[in-house]
C-alpha cells in the first residue's frame, strides 16, 4: 500500500549523519528567492532574523535605561529623553519581539510539519504578514529617528492625544500595521490546525506546542482588532481633534484604557502561551515521558485564552473603576493562575521518575519553570486589590512583568531555538558553550530583576529617571545584572552563527524525539513530506520508543 514508511529512528545517527543534498535552504538561490518565498520555513527564518534585529534594538534601550539608573542623579539624559528610551524599549520589545517571537519563528516553521502538512493554509498571506511586520518595524524606526515617542508603550490618553508633541501618530501607525501581521498569522494558524491535519492526526494527538499556539492565535484574532480601533481613534483624535477620549469635549479617557487593555492584557497570554508550548515539548523529550495530564495541559491553554479576555480592568484598579467591578476583576484575575498552575504541576509530574538529561533546551526550560512561577505568584499579589494599590506603578510591577515575559517568554524562546536549531539548520550548536550561556542568562536575569521587587516594595516608582540616594545599592545591583544578562544574550547570537558553518551535522533526530518534525530530514525539504504521513500513535510516545530499541525495527515496504 505505501511506498515508503517513516519509522521512528531509534539509534543515534549523528556519527554517520551527512547533510542532505537538497533541502529548503538550498532549493532556490538568491535574495529574491527569499523575499518572494511562500515556504513557511523560509518565512520563519526571515522572521527569526528580523525579530533578532529588533530584539537587540530593544535591548540597547534597556541598557540605556539601566545606565541612567546607575546613579540617583539624572546625569546621563534629560527626563524627556529618558521617557523616549523606555517608550521605545516597550514598543519594540512588546510589539516587535515578544508578541511575534515564538509563533512567527518556531510556530511558522513547525506547525505545518507537526500536523503533517506541506505548508500553512495560506502561504501568500503568511509572506504578507512578514512584510506587514517589517513595515511596522520600519515605522517604529522612523518614529525613533524623527525624534522618538515619550508616551510610554501604553499610549495613555489624554497624555498621548493632547499633551505630548512627539511622533505618536507614526508609532500608532507602526502598531496598527504590526497588529495586522499578527492577525494574519493567527488566522493562518487556526485554519491550518483545523483543516490541514494529516490523516490520523486527531486533536488529541497534536503536540502541545500546536495546542498552545492555537490558543494564542484565538487571542490574536479576537484581541488585536480592538487594539487596532483604539489606535485609530487615538490617531484621529490627534490629527483632527475629535473628542472621543477628550474630557473637555465630552469624551472619556477611561474608554481608551478599556479598549487598550482589552487587547493588551490578553497580549500577555499571546506572548506566554506559545512559550509554554515550547516547554511542554522540551520537558517531554528530555525526560523521555509523555507529558503528564496531556489533556489537562491542552485544555489549560484554552482556559488561559478564555480567562485572558475577562481580566483587562485590573489595569484600572487605581484609575476609577467602581469598587464592585474592581472586586470582580480581582477575582477573575486570580482565576487565570489556575490553568497556569495546572501546566507547572503537570510538567513537574512529567519530570518525576523520568530519565532526565540536561541538554541546553532543558536548562532553559528549568529556568522558565522557576522564573515563571515567581512571576506568576507575584501576579497574584498584584491581582489582590489592597496589594495592587500599594504596589502599582512601582518597580514591583516592573519586576513582575519582566519575570513573566523575559524570565518566562524569553527563556522559552531560547529553549525552543536551541531545541529546534538542528532541525532548522541541520547543524548542532556547541553544547558546552550554550550551557554556559543558559547559566549566565539565568544568573544575570535574577540579579537584574530580584532587586527590583525590593525597590518596588520600598516605593520606588517606575518611569522616573532620578531617585533618592537610599535606592542606589539595589539599582547598581540591577544594572550589574543587566550587563550579565546582555552577555547571556550575545553568546547564543555568536555561537549559533558560528554553528551555521562549523557545527556538527545534526542528523534527522538528534534528540530521539517522537514528533513528526523529527521523522523528516534536517533541514527539511521544501515540501516537508514527499508523501503525507498517516499518524497512528499518540504524541510523545516514549514508552513505546524505549521498548522498541530492544528489537530490530522492521520497515514496511
Amino acid at each position: 500500500m505505501s511506498a515508503s514508511t517513516y519509522t521512528i529512528v531509534n539509534l543515534p545517527d549523528q556519527a554517520t549523519a551527512t547533510m542532505p543534498k537538497r533541502h529548503y535552504i538550498n532549493n532556490e538561490h538568491g535574495l529574491l528567492s527569499w523575499l518572494f518565498t511562500a515556504d513557511h520555513k523560509r518565512i520563519a527564518m526571515l522572521y527569526l532574523m528580523s525579530i533578532t534585529f529588533f530584539f537587540f534594538i530593544g535591548g540597547a534601550f534597556a541598557g540605556l535605561i539601566r545606565l541612567e539608573l546607575l546613579t540617583p542623579q539624572p546625569d546621563l539624559v534629560a527626563s524627556d529623553t529618558y521617557n523616549k528610551f523606555f517608550t521605545m524599549h516597550g514598543i519594540v520589545m512588546i510589539f516587535l519581539f515578544l508578541v511575534p517571537s515564538v509563533p512567527a519563528t518556531l510556530g511558522n516553521f513547525l506547525i505545518p510539519i507537526m500536523l503533517g502538512a506541506k505548508d500553512l493554509a495560506f502561504p501568500k498571506i503568511n509572506l504578507l504578514s512578514w512584510y506587514l511586520y517589517m513595515a511596522g518595524g520600519m515605522f517604529t524606526l522612523a518614529a525613533l529617528v524623527l525624534g522618538g515617542v515619550d508616551t510610554g508603550w501604553t499610549f495613555t490618553t489624554p497624555l498621548s492625544t493632547h499633551y505630548l508633541n512627539t511622533h505618536v501618530v507614526t508609532a500608532a501607525t507602526a502598531i496598527f500595521i504590526a497588529g495586522f501581521s499578527s492577525i494574519f498569522t493567527g488566522l493562518n494558524f487556526i485554519v491550518t490546525i483545523h483543516r490541514m491535519r494529516a490523516p490520523g492526526m486527531t486533536w488529541f494527538r497534536m503536540p502541545l506546542f500546536v495546542w498552545a499556539n492555537y490558543a494564542a492565535s484565538v487571542l490574536m484574532v479576537l484581541g488585536t482588532p480592538v487594539l487596532a480601533i483604539a489606535i485609530v481613534l487615538v490617531a484621529l483624535e490627534r490629527l483632527i481633534g475629535i473628542g472621543v477620549f477628550d474630557p473637555t469635549k465630552g469624551g472619556d479617557p477611561l474608554l481608551f484604557q478599556h479598549l487598550f487593555w482589552f487587547y493588551s492584557h490578553p497580549a500577555v497570554y499571546i506572548m506566554i502561551l506559545p512559550g509554554m508550548g515550547v516547554i511542554s515539548e522540551v520537558i517531554s523529550t528530555f525526560s523521555r515521558k509523555r507529558v503528564f495530564g496531556y489533556t489537562a495541559v491542552a485544555f489549560s491553554s484554552v482556559a488561559i485564552a478564555v480567562f485572558g479576555f475577562f481580566v483587562w480592568a485590573h489595569h484600572m484598579f487605581i484609575m476609577g473603576v467602581s469598587n464592585y467591578s474592581a472586586l470582580v476583576f480581582s477575582l477573575l484575575t486570580m482565576l487565570v493562575a489556575v490553568p497556569s498552575a495546572i501546566k507547572i504541576f503537570n510538567w513537574a509530574f512529567t519530570l518525576q521518575k523520568g530519565s532526565i538529561t540536561f541538554e541546553t533546551p532543558m536548562l532553559y526550560a528549568f529556568g522558565f519553570m522557576g522564573l515563571f512561577t515567581i512571576g506568576g505568584l507575584t501576579g497574584v499579589f498584584l491581582g489582590s486589590l489592597g496589594m495592587d494599590i500599594h504596589l502599582t506603578e512601582t518597580y514591583f510591577i516592573v519586576a513582575h512583568f519582566h519575570f513573566v515575559m523575559v524570565g518566562g517568554m524569553l527563556m522559552a524562546f531560547l529553549a525552543g531555538i536551541h531545541f529546534w536549531w538542528p532541525k532548522m539548520t541541520g547543524r548542532m550548536y556547541p553544547e558546552s558553550m550554550s550551557k554556559l550561556a543558559a547559566v549566565v542568562t539565568f544568573i544575570g536575569f535574577n540579579l537584574t530583576f530580584l532587586p527590583q521587587f525590593i525597590l518596588g516594595y520600598l516605593g520606588m516608582p517606575r518611569r522616573y529617571h532620578a531617585y533618592p540616594q537610599e535606592y542606589q545599592v539595589l539599582n547598581v545591583l540591577s544594572t550589574a545584572g543587566a550587563t550579565v544578562l546582555g552577555v547571556g544574550y550575545l553568546l547564543p547570537m555568536l555561537y549559533l552563527a558560528w554553528s551555521l558553518k562549523y557545527g556538527e551535522i545534526a542528523g534527522d533526530n538528534p534528540w530521539q524525539a517522537t514528533g513528526l518534525e523529527w521523522q523528516i530530514q534536517s533541514p527539511p525539504l521544501t515540501e516537508n513530506f514527499t508523501e503525507i504521513p498517516v499518524v497512528d500513535y499518540e504524541a510523545y510516545d516514549y514508552e513505546w520508543l524505549a521498548n522498541k530499541t530492544e528489537h530490530e525495527v522492521t520497515t514496511v515496504g
Partner: protein
C-alpha cells in the same frame, strides 16, 4: 506496525474523492475540497476579526449613548432618515444581487454571473452616492465635529413635553461625541464598501475571462461573505444611529 507512520499516495486520496484537478489547485492542499473549506473558514475568521474591530466603536457608542442620552436623542433627530432608509434598501438589493451572483457561479453560468456582479457594483456605488450626499448635508449644517461645529439646531422634541427647547449648553456640546461616532462608524463602513467595490471590479474582470465558470467558485463565495458582512454592519448602524433615539418617551 502500530507505531509507524505509514504514507498514502496523493493519487489514492484523489481516487477516493473523484476530483478533477483544476488549474487553481494549490500544491499544498491534498484535495480541492480541503482548499475550498480552508478558504471559506479563513474568510469566516477574518469576518470575526472585523466584528471585533467594529465592536470597539459599538461599545463606545452604547457607553456614550447611556451617559449623554438627551444629546444623542437631539443629534440623531438631525440625521436624514429618508436617505438612510433609501440606503438600507439599496444595500439589501445589492446584497441580493451578490447572492444571485454566487448562485450563478455555482451553476456555472458565466454571463449571468457577470451581470449580477455588475448589478451588485452599481447598487454599491448608489449607496456611496447617497452617503456622500448625507455627508455634504452635515457639512452645510456645520455638524462635522471639530472647529466649526454648531450646536444651535439641537433641540430635544419630546424630552420637554410639547415644547421644543434647546439642550443645556454643556449637554449640547456632547452632540459632538454623537457626530464623531456617526462619522467614525459610517466612515469605516464606507471604507469597507470602497474596498469591496475595488474587489468587485477585479472579480467581474476575472468572471468575464471565465475563471469562475469551471466549478472553481471559492473567490466568489468568499467575497459574497464579505459583502453580506458589510450589509449586516449597516443593518446594525441604521437603527442605532438613525432610529432608536427619535421618540424617547
Amino acid at each position: 506496525m502500530a507505531n509507524t507512520i505509514a504514507a498514502h499516495h496523493d493519487a489514492e486520496l484523489h481516487e477516493e474523492h473523484e476530483h478533477v484537478v483544476l488549474p487553481q489547485h494549490r500544491h499544498h492542499f491534498e484535495t480541492e475540497e480541503q482548499q475550498r473549506e480552508a478558504g471559506s473558514f479563513g474568510m469566516w475568521l477574518f469576518l470575526l476579526t472585523e466584528i471585533m474591530f467594529f465592536g470597539g466603536m459599538f461599545f463606545a457608542y452604547l457607553l456614550y449613548r447611556n451617559w449623554y442620552y438627551p444629546a444623542f436623542v437631539a443629534a440623531s433627530n438631525q440625521l436624514n432618515v429618508p436617505e438612510g432608509t433609501a440606503n438600507t434598501v439599496i444595500l439589501i438589493t445589492s446584497g441580493f444581487f451578490m447572492a444571485l451572483g454566487v448562485w450563478a457561479a455555482e451553476v456555472r453560468k458565466k454571463g449571468l454571473l457577470v451581470v449580477f456582479l455588475i448589478l451588485t457594483t452599481i447598487f454599491g456605488f448608489a449607496f456611496l452616492g447617497v452617503k456622500a450626499d448625507e455627508y455634504h448635508e452635515k457639512w452645510e449644517k456645520h455638524h462635522i465635529p471639530g472647529a466649526s461645529f454648531d450646536v444651535k439646531e439641537f433641540i430635544n422634541p419630546a424630552a420637554y413635553g410639547l415644547h421644543e427647547e434647546p439642550l443645556a449648553p454643556d449637554m449640547a456640546q456632547k452632540t459632538q461625541v454623537f457626530f464623531f461616532l456617526y462619522f467614525a462608524m459610517t466612515g469605516m463602513h464606507a471604507l469597507h464598501m470602497i474596498i469591496g467595490l475595488a474587489l468587485l471590479f477585479w472579480l467581474t474582470w476575472r468572471a468575464h475571462k471565465g475563471d469562475f465558470s469551471s466549478g472553481y467558485v471559492a473567490p466568489i463565495e468568499n467575497f459574497g461573505l464579505y459583502w453580506h458582512f458589510v450589509d449586516i454592519v449597516w443593518l446594525f448602524l441604521f437603527p442605532l444611529l438613525y432610529l432608536i433615539n427619535r421618540h424617547p418617551l
